[in-house]
């Protein structure tokens, strides 16, 4: 208040001066100065009074409530940034008990994710999403989730259990949702990795957000390795760009991605070959080239204070050629339209929408030509009703139907329509901040994929849709030091679609069939515990009893599914900026793929150990990792041959080294 009082005094003084004396230049200057001073002070005084800020914290979003009703594992941006690995499949290795990485007969080099006990058909029973866009192919060709640069991943959400009502086909064992980064500021990240078997990986990621909400991100990477075996070279070259805008009522972006992959297939080994030299190849001709183009348009728009509309449009096409015993050429593409409304009515969270897919698949080689097309429609809705503040009831349902046309391997041309109706009921109870319980039942389904639709037995016109029900219960206990999760489940499937290797004169290579009933009963336990602020222990254990429940194989174990797998990880910051991580992974014994009769030799379980050391001095993160420290000999994928009654081996990598450097200029 000196600034308030003084002006009046000075004004009074100035007036007196005007009355009694003639103004000199000096006086005038003084008056101008005084007037200016008064004006500035007066201006300052007219500044509005500031009320202490009002803060509004969000309540739970629909997404958080959806997560609370199932067992969910997150891999955060921090974990990704500090990880010594360079691609997603290596990152997921740390969650191996939940998301088992396996292979299938379509491409033994491409990793496939299995949740809740699936073997050779895991690719069609786990749904992988990238920002809500399904990363699935019309055929059984495994989706290339390594096409997403780690630098671009904000987090990975692994939802275990059926999600058929909310996410639709293929969400049978679970859903892996990869959330990419949304640039809010300048991001620059460079990664280089060099390792055994001529592994080299280089990536560059840049992104930024400008005034008026305009943003972009751009990345490219090249990943090359000879793998462990002869004639097993793999190259992935990828470039992706996204441009968009955050506007007052929403977000819109366009995503364009193109990648080229090539794989050499060394062929399976006999047991004798595997024991003599697991690195040898038996086939030096088979090779696969894939060119993939992806276009995605996303819009999230606020309709009013209670409702938003999310719309996803996408197109992806894959052109493949190469040589797999015969020269071949393949082409498959898929379009999708997926609008959905998200909102609330009287505190009840509601989501409903439509999913439309249109796909085509065509394969020609010197022996045969097959094709399939499908048009799938889905209508779905889900609501989460708070019965009281700590108890939520979830109800949902989905109706799906698909028109199919297929030119089968048997030269039959078939047209049919598949339908499925699934529902969900669940309760989630969260009595306090630490505890959370859930109990749910959810339906699941999947329609035959193009490869399956064309590769059916001659006597069978079409395959039936696979349907099922999952019952799940679990609890999550979270404290400042630890997070523990326990879940038990029973997954019953009807008409499970899988490959039957039984060879007949009309099907000399076997065929895809519907099995009668299968049942998987399992328990999953996970624990992440901060022993000290610098020592983190994380463990996961998964047990599943996966069996045929009826039909000719009733009581048999489902092949390629280990009953037990688990892992233990220890991360320790032993001095400032230095961290080490030890991982031990156990994969239990299991029958070889396609040994539905359980007559072949059971494949033994194996342990894999890895150790990594990291130096982190922002913005640089350098790590050195030794994978399979004890050079364990093991097979990632075994295939039973019913004619020779032998098992083929596809060996996993022996001891390998990886040196990674990441430069992060966020």
């Amino acid at each position: 208040m000196m600034g308030i009082i003084q002006p009046k005094k000075i004004i009074a003084f100035g007036l007196i001066q005007n009355k009694k004396t003639r103004q000199t230049p000096l006086t005038r200057l003084l008056l101008i100065f005084i007037c200016a001073f008064i004006s500035i002070n007066a201006l300052a005084l007219t500044k509005p009074t500031v009320i202490p800020e009002v803060t509004s914290h969000s309540k739970s979003t629909l997404g958080k409530k959806q997560e609370a009703r199932v067992q969910t594992t997150h891999i955060t941006r921090k974990e990704i940034a500090e990880s010594p690995v360079v691609n997603l499949s290596e990152l997921l290795r740390q969650e191996q008990s939940i998301v088992r990485i396996t292979n299938n007969s379509t491409n033994t080099s491409q990793p496939v994710l299995s949740i809740r006990g699936f073997g050779d058909n895991a690719v069609a029973n786990t749904l992988i999403l990238v920002d809500g866009f399904p990363l699935t192919n019309p055929s059984l060709l495994p989706p290339n989730f390594n096409s997403i640069a780690l630098s671009d991943i904000e987090r990975v959400d692994i939802l275990q259990g059926s999600e058929g009502s909310l996410w639709g086909g293929q969400a049978v064992g679970g859903v892996v949702n990869i959330i990419t980064r949304h640039p809010e500021k300048q991001i620059i990240e460079l990664t280089a990795g060099l390792g055994s078997f001529n592994k080299n990986y280089f990536s560059a990621f840049v992104g930024n957000k400008f005034h008026h909400g305009v943003f972009f991100k751009l990345y490219g990477f090249t990943d090359q390795t000879n793998h462990y075996r002869q004639h097993n070279r793999q190259t992935d070259n990828n470039i992706a760009a996204q441009a968009g805008m955050d506007y007052a009522r929403g977000t819109i972006y366009l995503n364009v991605q193109t990648y080229h992959d090539s794989f050499q297939f060394p062929g399976p080994l006999t047991q004798a070959q595997f024991e003599a030299n697991p690195r040898q190849g038996t086939n030096f001709k088979n090779v696969y080239y894939l060119d993939t183009h992806v276009y995605q348009l996303f819009n999230k728009h606020e309709i009013n204070e209670h409702w938003i509309l999310e719309t996803r449009l996408s197109h992806h096409d894959i052109h493949g050629d190469g040589f797999t015993f015969f020269p071949f050429d393949s082409h498959e593409w898929m379009n999708s339209v997926r609008p959905r409304f998200i909102g609330s009515v009287r505190n009840n969270k509601i989501i409903f929408g439509y999913d439309g897919f249109n796909s085509r698949y065509h394969l020609i080689n010197t022996k045969t030509e097959v094709s399939a097309s499908a048009q799938q429609n889905n209508l779905y809705a889900q609501t989460i009703v708070p019965i009281f503040s700590q108890l939520d009831l979830t109800l949902g349902g989905r109706l799906a139907w698909q028109y199919n046309r297929a030119l089968q391997i048997s030269k039959q041309y078939v047209i049919n329509t598949d339908r499925a109706l699934v529902t969900e009921q669940g309760l989630s109870f969260h009595p306090n901040q630490e505890w959370q319980f859930f109990l749910r039942r959810d339906g699941n389904f999947r329609f035959p994929k193009a490869t399956e639709a064309v590769w059916t037995p001659a006597r069978t016109n079409v395959l039936q849709p696979q349907t099922g029900v999952s019952y799940e219960a679990g609890t999550i206990w979270t404290t400042a030091r630890q997070t523990a999760q326990l879940s038990v489940y029973q997954l019953q499937l009807h008409n499970e679609i899988a490959f039957d290797p039984t060879q007949t004169p009309s099907q000399p290579f076997g065929s895809y069939q519907n099995f009668d009933h299968t049942r998987r009963v399992g328990v999953t336990v996970t624990e992440s515990y901060h022993v000290t602020p610098k020592l983190l222990l994380d463990t996961q254990l998964n047990y599943v009893d996966a069996r045929f429940a009826s039909g000719p194989y009733s009581g048999n174990m489902i092949p390629a599914v280990p009953a037990v797998n688990g892992n233990v990880g220890l991360s320790y910051e032993f001095m400032p900026r230095w961290k080490t991580r030890l991982d031990t992974l156990y994969t239990g014994s299991r029958y070889a793929s396609e040994d539905e009769a359980n007559v072949g030799k059971k494949q033994p379980g194996y342990w894999l150990n890895s150790v990594a050391i990291q130096y982190m001095l922002k913005p640089v993160n350098v790590s050195f990792e030794v994978i399979n420290v004890f050079n364990q000999r093991y097979s990632t994928y075994n295939l039973y041959n019913p004619v020779s009654k032998t098992v083929n081996y596809n060996p996993g990598a022996g001891r390998s080294y990886l040196l990674t450097a990441k430069l992060n200029l966020d």
């Binding site: 000196m2 600034g3 202490p52 509004s56 979003t61 007052a248 606020e302």
Partner: protein
């Protein structure tokens, strides 16, 4: 607006306290009010607000003289008024569902002119959050708090206020 006729700026009242927020006392609080006339609950709220928020006040000039008992009470009264306004608006704030689902957060600066009868005029966005629903929710929170009650004991003339409403995702 500044009212030079207000007793608050009569010479002699320049014994102002060190605490910045007491500045406003000189313009909106009645100088004749004494500490005996204060409501205890408002005093407590003012204390809480002072503790919770480091408010960026418009004046940083400090005066070397120690505060007198009288002016100190004025300062507490203005803090009580700000606390009253803050709490009234806080009670009516809510996070729009649409912004929640869009994972939008941000800070909205609003301003308004408050009259002694508790009504307001010229409510407007000074700085947008960039999200329409958050801006609307900030305006709605202020509107819902109108009329502000029990303010005539602190406010002699109309005055302009600004307020930041912060929306944070949990």
């Amino acid at each position: 607006m500044l009212d030079f006729s207000s007793p608050a700026i009569v010479p002699g009242n320049e014994q102002v306290p060190v605490i910045q927020s007491y500045f406003f006392n000189e313009f909106v609080a009645k100088p004749q009010q004494t500490s005996e006339t204060k409501k205890i609950n408002n005093k407590e709220i003012a204390k809480q607000v002072k503790q919770k928020t480091a408010v960026a006040m418009t004046v940083t000039k400090q005066v070397s003289q120690p505060p007198s008992a009288k002016s100190s009470s004025h300062g507490e009264q203005i803090d009580a008024l700000l606390a009253l306004l803050h709490d009234a608006i806080q009670q009516h704030q809510h996070y729009p569902e649409s912004a929640l689902e869009m994972e939008r957060q941000g800070r909205v600066t609003v301003s308004f002119t408050l009259f002694t009868d508790g009504l307001i005029r010229d409510l407007r966005i000074v700085k947008s959050s960039g999200t329409a629903s958050l801006d609307s929710a900030a305006l709605a929170a202020v509107n819902a708090a109108v009329p502000f009650t029990k303010i005539n004991k602190y406010l002699e003339n109309s005055r302009e206020f600004t307020l930041d409403v912060v929306f944070e995702l949990a």
